[in-house]
């Protein structure tokens, strides 16, 4: 079965073709980051306008690179939420229109299901599986007893980890997005600044507002005292504390649930310190971290998740599918 996938939930316009949710034939990602950088964050209306300008070109490129004709596609899958509603609606309507024109089924995919399934591109998933989802909007632990059976066991009580990175980068005047710049800088520094140990708000939950406030206060205090701030040490200290919290909670959840596999999902899965810490903490059990190209938003992961969704549940909503800015992972 040949699958065409579309992802437009935020500021990337992406399309991908795969075979049986396994072999990725193409994965075209058009990032709008340059357009939004001047505004210090993603501007939803600008994102939507870009998506509609690019959508058919990106789909065409994905088919071309996959050496696949439109007529060969058997299934369309698309991110239906959560995300920026104006952006989601471009992808959802494009997917429905393509499916209708070709007389084939269309399936909506939860964006985070996509991030989790990014891990099954080069590996076989094993259940029960524990997934750590880390991105600009999410910090969650999810248990899967089988394919497409998600149970959220913990989430952030306040900020997502990516938000905390962005905020700290802004206070240190490092630019946007914060994750990659802090990660890069941290590699040149040492964790010399004292950081608070984060108290989990619930057994498997997360909290980043305390660490964020601590960073802001520390920087103000040092500035007031006219002490020089070593940004690379500051970045290393923050990153160490932020990642340690992820690892602590993941290890606890993994143990308590007798999980057989650990996977990391979402944009922050590209963070080098997180990857190192996962390798240390999970060295005795099977774990997967997605290849870098599948960490950030991309349609390949939506195609893989959508294939499994269709295999298990069929078409479901079809032409009545809508986009949803908020959506539960089910």
């Amino acid at each position: 079965m040949k699958v065409l996938a579309i992802e437009t939930s935020c500021d990337e316009t992406s399309a991908s073709v795969n075979i049986d949710g396994k072999r990725i034939l193409s994965n075209i990602v058009h990032s709008q980051i340059d357009l939004h950088q001047a505004f210090g964050g993603v501007v939803p209306e600008i994102a939507s306008r870009e998506h509609i300008k690019r959508i058919t070109v990106i789909i065409e490129k994905a088919l071309e690179e996959a050496a696949t004709a439109k007529e060969e596609i058997d299934l369309v899958t698309v991110t239906k939420g959560p995300g920026l509603i104006g952006s989601l609606l471009v992808g959802v309507n494009a997917a429905k229109a393509f499916a209708f024109a070709r007389g084939i089924p269309v399936v909506g995919v939860h964006h985070l299901a996509g991030h989790i399934y990014a891990n099954s591109i080069d590996h076989e998933l094993r259940f029960p599986l524990l997934a750590l989802i880390v991105s600009g909007g999410h910090t969650e632990l999810v248990i899967m007893q089988d394919h497409y059976r998600f149970e959220k066991i913990g989430e952030t009580a306040d900020d997502a980890i990516g938000e905390a990175y962005d905020k700290v980068a802004r206070v240190l005047s490092l630019g946007y997005p914060g994750g990659p710049v802090i990660d890069r800088l941290a590699r040149k520094g040492n964790p010399t600044y004292p950081m608070p140990r984060i108290t989990p708000p619930t057994k498997y939950g997360f909290s980043y507002s305390g660490l964020k406030s601590h960073m802001i206060n520390l920087i103000h205090k040092l500035n007031n005292r006219k002490e020089t701030i070593r940004p690379e040490d500051m970045a290393a200290s923050f990153q160490k504390a932020a990642v340690a919290h992820l690892i602590d909670q993941s290890v606890r959840a993994f143990r308590d649930h007798d999980a057989k596999m650990f996977v990391v999902a979402g944009g922050v899965a590209a963070n080098s310190h997180l990857r190192e810490r996962v390798e240390e903490a999970f060295q005795d059990v099977p774990y997967i971290m997605p290849a870098f190209e599948y960490c950030t938003d991309n349609a390949a992961m939506i195609g893989v998740a959508g294939y499994h969704r269709y295999r298990l549940f069929g078409e479901e909503e079809g032409m009545a599918m809508n986009g949803h800015s908020r959506l539960d992972l089910t």
Binding site: N93, A101, G103, M319
Partner: protein
């Protein structure tokens, strides 16, 4: 005799969702509904419904006509996305038309088409619509509605929704065949608020 071309006409720039299947310039099947930000749920269902009521499969369509705004940004994007992807997937021509002209074409007289744009502003266009054709009197714009109406010598007929008359639109040259389907985008008439604010700062 040559069969008249079958075209699908879509407009979602206002609260009014319009889908029509036309043979030549005559409607065969039409669907319209007043919605509230739910065009995304209904548009493709209605496209499916008019095609099946007309007894055709999508590949029997000879072209797609779409209202490209101005109007609700999100609304118009739904229609334009669907029209673009249908035309491109089917390899059929795409025709664009002003959503305001489309709205005016169904009635006669001096017609003011307008879409509320908040704070007394509207996207509006003034058209003279005759029995067989129509023309632009004042180009589509974003402006203060009351001031615009006050400045007119006669009172126009105000339209905020309406079904298209393809005869008049074609006779008046309102349909533009897209040279490059990839490049088709809504006519927002306004840059985004973020861009306007950024400009006023510098």
């Amino acid at each position: 005799m040559r069969k008249s071309p079958l075209r699908l006409v879509i407009d979602t720039a206002t609260d009014y969702l319009y889908v029509g299947l036309f043979a030549g310039a005559s409607p065969k099947e039409e669907h319209h509904r007043r919605g509230k930000r739910d065009h995304s749920v209904h548009l493709m269902k209605k496209v499916e419904a008019v095609c099946s009521a007309g007894g055709i499969t999508p590949d029997e369509l000879d072209g797609i006509v779409v209202g490209v705004g101005p109007g609700s940004y999100t609304g118009v994007r739904i229609g334009v996305t669907v029209a673009k992807v249908l035309a491109w997937t089917l390899g059929k021509p795409l025709y664009t038309v002003s959503s305001l002209a489309l709205m005016a074409s169904g009635t006669e007289g001096l017609v003011l088409s307008c879409v509320d744009a908040r704070r007394g502003n509207a996207f509006l266009g003034l058209y003279e619509v005759g029995p067989t054709k129509m023309e632009v009197v004042e180009e589509d714009r974003h402006t203060d509605l009351e001031a615009f109406i006050k400045g007119l010598p006669t009172n126009p007929r105000v339209m905020t929704e309406g079904r298209p008359d393809l005869h008049r639109l074609e006779a008046g040259g309102f349909l533009d065949k897209a040279e490059n389907i990839h490049a088709v985008a809504p006519n927002y008439l306004r840059r985004t608020k973020a861009e306007r604010q950024k400009d006023s700062q510098t």
